[in-house]
């Protein structure tokens, strides 16, 4: 796999991976901006509105027909949050020309269509169409409120929201309902133009075409991109300490059958000069895999849950443990989760456990080059923080991680928030209230 990264227009970078082993190629474009409550839903809404029609294919039916003609090219909006940077744009996947009937090719057309979606929307009087903006705004509102439908991920999002209530990170990737509701077509058209002028733009291509060919096609199509002063100041503020001396608690009630417990920690001082390899190993050993301390103890030994697992956000510096339990077992589950973190702090894990965690992380990293989607998200996350090592480079570092490094991370974390999503209490029964 050949990797290269070039600035092809002011503030527009192309990550190009030449790889022959896939049958399809992928191309993505992401507009980067600082995540904040005022603009997040506008940023998120833009790709959805743009996906309604271009000047050449002015509605979804003709646009979808065009993609089908391009042998099932798929181009969809993609909205992400990496640390406190919001990334909004499109992800395209299309067949490699080698697999199409002789003489047919979609590379040029698929790149052109993706950039047309970004740069040449259907407009009236220079403004985005009111009908499209209103319709997509209502659908975005549905999408924002739909987060409650999956109780497990909802509980994790709510814990982050409470934990980071004074930080931009509390804003979801789609923004919030209130600011979304206030969007109209004039406001959005203005914001769209500003975003095109000022946001750093990340382009990613992975496939069989050479850098020279891709660059030439992109330069052509990007000539109409307006560029002003690029906002290079975007970044993530990492809070090292918990907000208060004792972890804060939030209990939310809903008509649910299972109680969802989420505990949030700041990764702490280890984020001053983060060692990502050691962070991944720590997470795998603590709660990131079926051989982790949480899985083996909270689930297998005590049978308290179906899942008890940890995730880390290495860009924002958070550790989160989530578990679905019976309300009656809340204290036992909580105690065991903290006890297992203490065990890691004390270095109470074997060389085998450490090696297993390292093997798991290395395998995950070595698998990234097998999937274009995984490559795209790995390199975007790297680009956002200005890092340029490959998954294989990182895997080599994981091999060197020591028990002392893992212990140091466990000692560095600070519990900041405990969140519980539970069944509605019976108002007749005062003893039903959960104490967390």
């Amino acid at each position: 796999m050949e990797y290269s990264r070039t600035e092809i227009r002011p503030g527009v970078w192309l990550t190009h991976l030449r790889e022959d082993k896939f049958k399809t190629a992928c191309f993505s474009v992401s507009l980067l901006s600082q995540l904040n409550r005022e603009t997040a839903s506008m940023n998120a809404l833009i790709p959805f509105v743009l996906r309604r029609g271009t000047s050449a294919f002015p509605d979804m039916e003709t646009l979808s027909a065009r993609m089908e003609e391009l042998y099932g090219t798929v181009i969809e909006p993609i909205i992400r949050r990496i640390g406190e940077i919001q990334c909004c744009g499109f992800y395209a996947s299309f067949p490699e020309d080698d697999f199409l009937p002789q003489g047919e090719g979609v590379l040029k057309d698929a790149l052109e269509l993706t950039l047309d979606l970004l740069l040449s929307p259907v407009t009236r009087g220079g403004l985005l169409l009111p009908a499209y903006v209103e319709s997509e705004r209502d659908k975005l509102l549905d999408l924002i409120s739909a987060r409650m439908n999956n109780k497990r991920s909802y509980a994790v999002l709510r814990c982050i929201e409470e934990m980071c209530c004074c930080e931009d990170f509390a804003v979801g990737r789609y923004g919030d309902e209130e600011s979304c509701r206030s969007i109209n077509y004039k406001k959005l058209s203005r914001h769209y133009r500003t975003l095109l002028q000022t946001s750093p733009i990340e382009l990613f291509y992975c496939g069989r075409a050479s850098l020279r060919e891709v660059k030439a096609l992109l330069r052509d199509h990007l000539s109409t991109l307006p560029r002003g002063e690029i906002d290079m100041e975007i970044g993530t503020e990492i809070r090292m300490n918990a907000l208060e001396a004792e972890p804060r608690s939030t209990v939310e009630e809903m008509d649910v059958s299972q109680t969802n417990l989420v505990i949030g920690w700041r990764l702490g001082e280890c984020m001053e000069d983060p060692d990502f390899a050691a962070l991944y190993v720590f997470n795998d050993l603590f709660g990131g895999s079926p051989s982790s301390k949480l899985f083996l103890n909270v689930r297998e030994k005590l049978s308290l849950c179906y899942y008890a697992s940890s995730i880390i956000d290495i860009r924002k510096g958070l550790l989160l443990v989530s578990s679905g339990i019976q309300l009656a077992n809340l204290d036992a589950a909580k105690a065991e989760i903290f006890a297992q973190l203490d065990a890691v702090c004390r270095g109470d894990f074997s060389e085998d456990e450490l090696q297993t965690a390292k093997a798991g992380v290395i395998s995950d990293l070595r698998s990234i080059p097998d999937s274009q989607g995984a490559l795209e998200s790995f390199y975007l996350s790297q680009a956002v923080v200005g890092a340029d090592y490959s998954p294989t480079d990182l895997a080599a570092l994981v091999n060197e991680v020591t028990a002392a490094q893992v212990i140091a991370i466990a000692k560095s974390v600070e519990c900041d928030q405990i969140y519980l999503l539970k069944q509605e209490s019976d108002p007749e029964d005062e003893h039903d209230d959960a104490e967390i």
Binding site: L70, D142, E300, S303, A359, G360, S363, S367
Partner: protein, 427 residues
């Protein structure tokens, strides 16, 4: 016995196929240039296989046994756990149970042969005690509660109960807290002995591997004795009319969700079933896919959003068409669907739409081959249905517009449709 090679020029793939002395079917998809290996060892046994006959004995087992058995298979007699052993090798193992299959799999980037031996070994080594079986009740009990809070699952089973009178597909694969309490080590041993015989199983592997090595390892790890395969009963055949036409559930969701479904009469296992599945799936895309007039009209009217999907699902002798997503007015979606099916019945499908939908199928077939986890699982599932997943592009290309029209006219007649609504519960 050696592995036989088959070429699939449409996607540039080569598949090696063979059968071990035990009757185990083996499929290997060599993938050069990839660092990962994937293997799935699957048995033709799922949540609906509750009643079966073996060697003259009839069994009637509690709901949820297949899934419970899947959880308990990871325990080994020496106190080891297969999940732990595989993760120690850096592999990522897991398993799933559906209505008609139980599959164990791992993904790894090293020690492939050792991991493959482990997979074959643990899945063919039953070891259950009163204590280990009882202990799992807490874990699966929580998995059941997790499912109860999942709106998609709740609505899916609500639709199946509207459609099916008695076929076990209407019951949850995972069972209930009550039904799993009836499960004993004896029941698990009996079900393992019946369904986990190599002749009832398939092994699919993808990665940079030598197909002959995979066959050799399977011969070494598994007993070569070919045992009888049980006869499963799903009860008397269902007619094609739903039991009820409308049901409303309430749950804490943001926007109402809906599923519209109809029962199908599945063809015999083999190429006819494959053709029927692909025809159904293509017909649904023509009726309600991304560039269909129906989807775009309802999307613009605010009746559908991007969560909408339409497809057909075939398993254990039944077939079901399902369309669904979120909508503020599911009844309006249903009447629009009836109108559209009637319109297509009169004027037929648009030629241009048909041609470009098939053309798009070329790209989706290629995309479908990218993820070898999916490919291996599809290969295994399709093997149990008597066809090969890699024939997808060739069969898809041969389907005629008239077949899709006939399918839509027949399968989606108004009297065959049921609508299940999951309404947003007011706080």
């Amino acid at each position: 016995m050696t592995m036989q090679k088959f070429d699939y020029p449409a996607t540039g793939d080569v598949l090696y196929s063979g059968t071990a002395a035990s009757g185990l079917r083996i499929r290997v998809l060599p993938k050069k240039g990839f660092s990962g290996f994937y293997a799935v060892f699957a048995t033709d046994y799922g949540g609906t296989y509750r009643r079966f006959t073996l060697d003259g004995t009839a069994y009637d087992t509690p709901a949820g046994v297949a899934h419970y058995l899947e959880h308990k298979m990871f325990d080994l007699p020496d106190g080891d756990n297969a999940l732990t052993l595989l993760t120690q090798n850096g592999a990522d193992p897991n398993a799933f149970t559906s209505s008609d299959v139980t599959a164990y799999y791992f993904h790894c980037t090293r020690l492939f042969e050792e991991n493959l031996r482990l997979l074959l070994h643990f899945v063919s080594t039953p070891y259950f005690t009163e204590e280990t079986v009882r202990k799992e009740q807490g874990i699966i009990g929580q998995e059941i509660h997790m499912g109860e809070d999942n709106p998609g699952t709740a609505n899916y089973y609500s639709l199946l109960k509207l459609l099916y009178r008695h076929h076990p597909i209407r019951e949850k694969v995972i069972g209930t807290v009550e039904s799993i309490a009836e499960i004993t080590p004896e029941i698990l041993y009996a079900c393992h002995a019946a369904f986990y015989t190599p002749a009832n199983m398939v092994l699919c592997v993808a990665g940079d591997v030598d197909p002959e090595r995979v066959l050799a390892i399977a011969e070494e790890e598994l007993s070569s004795e070919e045992k009888p395969v049980p006869v499963v009963s799903f009860g008397e055949e269902e007619d094609l009319l739903p039991v009820g036409s409308r049901n409303v559930l309430e749950m804490p969701v943001s926007t109402p969700q809906f599923l519209i479904g109809a029962k199908l009469q599945p063809a015999e296992k083999g190429p006819a079933l494959f053709r029927q599945q692909l025809t159904a799936s293509l017909a649904m895309r023509l009726l309600a896919g991304a560039s269909s007039p129906f989807y775009n009209r309802l999307y613009e009217a605010g009746l559908l959003n991007r969560s909408f999907d339409a497809d057909a699902d075939f398993s254990t002798g039944v077939g079901t068409v399902i369309l669904g997503g979120e909508s503020r007015d599911p009844d309006a979606v249903l009447s629009a669907l009836n109108e559209e099916v009637a319109r297509i019945g009169k004027v037929g499908l648009d030629n241009a739409l048909f041609e470009r939908t098939k053309r798009a199928g070329i790209g989706s077939a290629l995309r479908g081959m990218e993820d070898f986890d999916d490919v291996c699982v599809s290969l295994a599932l399709d093997e149990f249905d008597g066809f090969c997943y890699l024939d997808y592009p060739a069969v898809m290309a041969s389907i005629e517009k008239s077949e899709c029209e006939a399918f839509l006219r027949d399968a989606l007649r108004p009297e065959r449709l049921a609508l299940s609504i999951l309404a947003a519960k007011k706080e």
